[in-house]
């Protein structure tokens, strides 16, 4: 082996050290085979990072491969920093979702903030200007002593980062469940827009080309606690080094502007943000994608702290850094741009034709690894799994009717999982960039494509209680609901990104949830022409053996061709007909009603009929795009009752709703969660119902808009004011509690 530095040589690679790096004995044996010798500590660190679940997707890859990723609209599917879809007129939307679950539990503000920073980088790395942020959040029970602190920190952190960088946070979702007590979920999504012919990729090329480091300096942020605590590394540090990364949105804003400025030239060969595993993953991925080698001189890395070792430099997760391969001779031009933005700029290495990652430090070679096997031979496991046992189907007759249906409705719209999220989104600048056409609170956020009358619709969705009961149907439902939310604003759904949040994949039961959910997602994406273009996997969300609910979060993106032909959930005026699209059977299994009112969390979730979804959704979208719908809301949690209440609360105009059709109990009518349904307010209900019937779409007249109350079946009534009080009160009151 070539010379290693004293520092690296001093550390003996013991089985304990290997284990601390999260590598199994088999994996280590493979490393020995690839290296043909024992790795030094820096090399071990590189393998450990690249073969981590996070970077290698070793437990999920076999399943992810089954997802549909193609379609005429797809410019770039999974595998790059983010997915790219064609949105017409020479533009592309670039988007992705990513989790920062564990760091946000440890330090909610910084964890969430750096999560937003990371996903923003993934998107602008590809040449897009970010135009919207979303966030999908799951917290523990409201009664859990940590919950309030976590909600407050996470929301402040997401706002703190997004507000400062000036990208609007336009929507998301927030749920509470005791299953997240020890593992909250913070999934952040960013959507950006780029010229379709100016997308930047990460494949390095051109041996001899300079490898450039830009952005913040490297510190010891986020280097794995377990290894850092070992005495050899940290002898002179009196306080245990925090592994928490601190975000600097101001610097990120500068990095973003500088990168976009450089991208307007033709100086870039490849560009890659430094995310998880920092310089290691960015360097290795750029080399691997381009089938080239990279040689880095670690002395040239801008450093924030003294005495940093090659190991630390390669594994640091300091934020707001990028790696760029420039065309030859373009250094000065690039440097001038970064200096204008007062950012560090350093040529730290070269592209080579050796196919090897070579690391130099103090004039010696401290790492030398062949890139292809490091990436291609990364472990991949087809882990054993058990299918989730089917839950029983719950019949309406077995579910108690409420004493007072309007009281039940009031309770449902005010329960922790349905209450207004205003307290959250008012802390987010959701209007900066002046293109937010639909603010948080509706089915999808609608963000205008700057300078045009076209827009993107964005949503995130998952119903973990369905996924727990039936991962396959739950996976389908998450996709279907995202597709429906886009449809409900009149958008044509284009593609999805997804964040798979699960427990320990080494448990066959959990692996069964993953297998089921991914399979359901794939089925739904295929049926709805809604390919997956990017995503992220977060496993091991368990504490003391207690796993989170299976939570496959779908981030959906759709296109609106004409902003004059989009609708919101708000009932705009009196005297409109309410038309319900889709079949209502009164499915109460795994429903909110069952849990919140009947106090039972059980039963099979509503089945998803993808043919009906597609047919009903296409019909509704057609009407909206033809300008024939005044307001529309898809039906999901809380069913018809919750939907009509939300439509009324959004504008202050009430409605009367007909009684349940013959043979259906009122609580099934109001609170059943049958899928593939929409409630529309329209000018001429009879015509629309006739057209629907002709098209084979179930449709029925269910009432009229007007007044300042909600009245059902002529007798049950509640004022909008009272509904609103219940809906708006819970979250601020909860957050104000000591």
């Amino acid at each position: 082996m070539s010379a290693a530095t004293a520092a690296s040589k001093a550390i003996e690679i013991t089985p304990e050290l290997v284990a601390e790096h999260g590598l199994s004995t088999d994996e280590y044996a493979l490393i020995l085979k690839i290296m043909g010798r024992e790795p030094n500590i820096t090399e071990l660190g590189v393998f450990s990072a690249m073969w981590s679940e996070h970077c290698s997707y070793k437990s999920s890859k076999v399943w992810l491969k089954t997802l549909p990723t193609e379609g005429p609209q797809v410019i770039c599917g999974p595998g790059e920093n983010a997915g790219v879809v064609d949105i017409g007129e020479g533009l592309a939307a670039i988007f992705k979702i990513e989790s920062h679950n564990h760091p946000s539990f440890i330090e909610p503000y910084q964890g969430a903030a750096t999560g937003v920073g990371g996903i923003l980088r993934d998107v602008f790395t590809m040449g897009a200007r970010p135009v919207a942020n979303m966030n999908a959040l799951r917290f523990g029970s409201p009664d859990h002593p940590k919950t309030r602190h976590l909600v407050s920190g996470v929301v402040a952190g997401i706002g703190g980062y997004g507000n400062c960088i000036g990208v609007p946070t336009v929507g998301g979702e927030t749920e509470f469940d005791p299953a997240y007590n020890g593992n909250i979920l913070v999934n952040a999504m960013t959507v950006g827009i780029a010229d379709a012919d100016r997308i930047f990729y990460s494949a390095a090329g051109g041996p001899g080309n300079p490898v450039v480091y830009v952005g913040s300096k490297t510190g010891r942020d986020g280097i794995h606690g377990a290894t850092m605590a070992s005495a050899e590394f940290d002898q002179d540090s009196e306080e245990k080094r925090p592994t928490v990364q601190v975000g600097d949105p101001f610097t990120e804003k500068l990095v973003m502007e500088a990168c976009l400025e450089l991208m307007a030239t033709d100086a870039i060969v490849a560009i890659q943000d430094m995310g998880a595993a920092g310089l290691t993953s960015s360097g290795v991925e750029m080399a691997s994608k381009g089938s080239v080698g990279v040689e880095l001189d670690l002395d040239l890395v801008p450093m924030r702290e003294e005495g940093m070792t090659p190991y630390e430099l390669m594994l640091s997760e300091s934020q707001e850094r990028m790696l760029i391969v420039l065309k030859p001779g373009r250094e000065a031009e690039a440097r001038a741009i970064f200096e204008k933005w007062e950012l560090d700029f350093a040529v730290i290495g070269r592209v080579t034709d050796t196919g090897r990652l070579v690391l130099k430090f103090h004039g010696e070679t401290v790492g030398d690894i062949e890139v292809a096997p490091l990436v291609d031979n990364a472990p991949e496991y087809d882990r054993p799994w058990e299918p989730t046992p089917k839950s029983p189907i719950i019949h309406i007759d077995d579910v108690a009717a409420p004493n007072d249906p309007m009281e039940a409705l009031k309770q449902i719209v005010g329960c922790p999982n349905m209450a207004s999220r205003r307290w959250i989104w008012e802390q987010y600048d959701h209007m900066v960039m002046a293109d937010t056409n639909q603010r948080p609170g509706g089915d999808s956020a609608v963000v205008r494509i700057h300078g045009t009358d076209r827009a993107l619709a964005i949503t995130t969705d998952s119903t973990p209680r369905y996924c727990l009961a039936d991962p396959e149907e739950g996976g389908k439902q998450a996709v279907a609901e995202a597709w429906r939310n886009l449809t409900a604003v009149g958008a044509t759904p284009l593609a999805v990104t997804n964040n798979l949040n699960f427990g320990n994949p080494q448990k066959p039961r959990i692996m069964g949830q993953i297998a089921g959910a991914v399979s359901g997602m794939g089925t739904a994406c295929r049926a709805l022409n809604f390919p997956v273009v990017s995503g992220n996997v977060s496993l091991y969300n368990e504490t003391s053996g207690e796993a989170i609910l299976p939570t496959p979060v779908i981030g959906g993106l759709g296109l609106i061709e004409d902003l004059d032909r989009t609708v919101t959930v708000a009932i705009p005026r009196e005297g409109l007909d309410l038309v319900l699209i889709g079949d209502t059977k009164g499915w109460l299994g795994a429903s909110l009603y069952l849990r919140e009112i009947a106090g039972r969390a059980e039963g099979a979730p509503p089945p998803v009929d993808l043919t009906a979804e597609k047919r009903n959704g296409d019909f509704v979208r057609g009407l909206i795009q033809a300008g024939r719908v005044a307001a529309c809301h898809d039906l999901s949690d809380g069913g018809l009752g919750a939907a009509v209440a939300e439509m009324a609360m959004a504008s202050g105009i009430g409605a009367t709703l007909t009684d349940a059709p013959a043979g259906l109990a009122l609580h099934g009518w109001l609170f059943g969660e049958d899928q593939a349904r929409y409630l529309m307010a329209v000018e001429n209900g009879a015509d629309i119902i006739a057209e629907a019937t002709a098209a084979g779409v179930p449709a029925m007249s269910v009432g009229q808009t007007g007044g300042d109350a909600l009245t059902v079946a002529g007798t049950h009534t509640i004022s909008i004011q009272e509904l609103r009080r219940s809906h708006e009160e819970w979250l601020p009151a909860f957050m104000a509690r000591p």
């Binding site: 000036g166 008012e426 900066v432 002046a434």
Partner: protein, 223 residues
């Protein structure tokens, strides 16, 4: 008519402001980088919202000491209209062009929402498009918008008719003294306000109640 938007590192409403100015004036404003220490002769200068220098130390503090601010001050002294919106208002108070300070919101949280404003004074070019007493709805989006000055200063501002906008009673989003949302300098050519009129020029975004500020400015400057 020549207008300019000053861009600091961390400004993020600069584009929104430029769109609003271009819509009203028909020509795009000059985008002036913070390091420029000389300015061309201008008819209107706008300091945009955002987080100049990350709003580190104090909101607007570092921007207020940048070279370009000296040049802005010179033009303000010559009577050129200067408007600071949100972070721009913070820069104006930090630089001494306007009295008082903008402290952390009373609720301590960032707040982004529509607020109802009352137009108080129409005695400046900025307010020409409005009627005194008019109520308008314009969004706010800030963490430090809690206007504070000593009582003597507040009395003077009110006595001199230099309160441009107030939050409607019961709609004060940040705890500002006397519900103050925007103030003028003595000469009436410098306006600072926390709400964002440039976000309210388009029915497809946040309504149009901010438009009159820009169209009024066009008229006032042409007069």
């Amino acid at each position: 008519m020549k207008t300019a938007v000053i861009v600091f590192p961390g400004s993020n409403c600069d584009r929104d402001a430029a769109v609003a100015l271009e819509a009203a004036f028909g020509t795009a404003p000059a985008m002036i980088w913070h390091r420029d220490n000389t300015l061309p002769n201008l008819d209107l200068i706008l300091l945009p919202g955002g987080f100049s220098y990350g709003d580190y130390l104090r909101s607007g503090a570092i921007a207020a000491r940048s070279p370009v601010l000296r040049a802005v001050k010179e033009q303000a002294d010559r009577g050129v209209p200067v408007i600071g919106i949100c972070n721009g208002f913070q820069v104006l108070t930090e630089s001494g062009l306007l009295p008082g300070v903008l402290m952390r919101n009373a609720g301590l949280k960032y707040v982004c929402r529509d607020v109802d404003l009352v137009v108080e004074s129409t005695a400046s070019p900025f307010m020409r498009g409005y009627k005194a007493g008019q109520r308008i709805t314009v969004p706010v989006a800030h963490h430090d918008g809690n206007y504070f000055a000593d009582d003597a200063t507040l009395d003077r501002l009110e006595g001199d008719g230099r309160v441009a906008f107030r939050y409607a009673a019961h709609d004060n989003p940040n705890g500002s003294a006397r519900n103050i949302a925007g103030i003028l300098n003595e000469r009436g050519n410098v306006l600072g306000m926390m709400p964002h009129p440039e976000r309210a020029i388009d029915p497809k975004h946040c309504g149009t109640d901010g438009k009159a500020m820009f169209t009024g400015l066009v008229e006032a400057l042409a007069a």
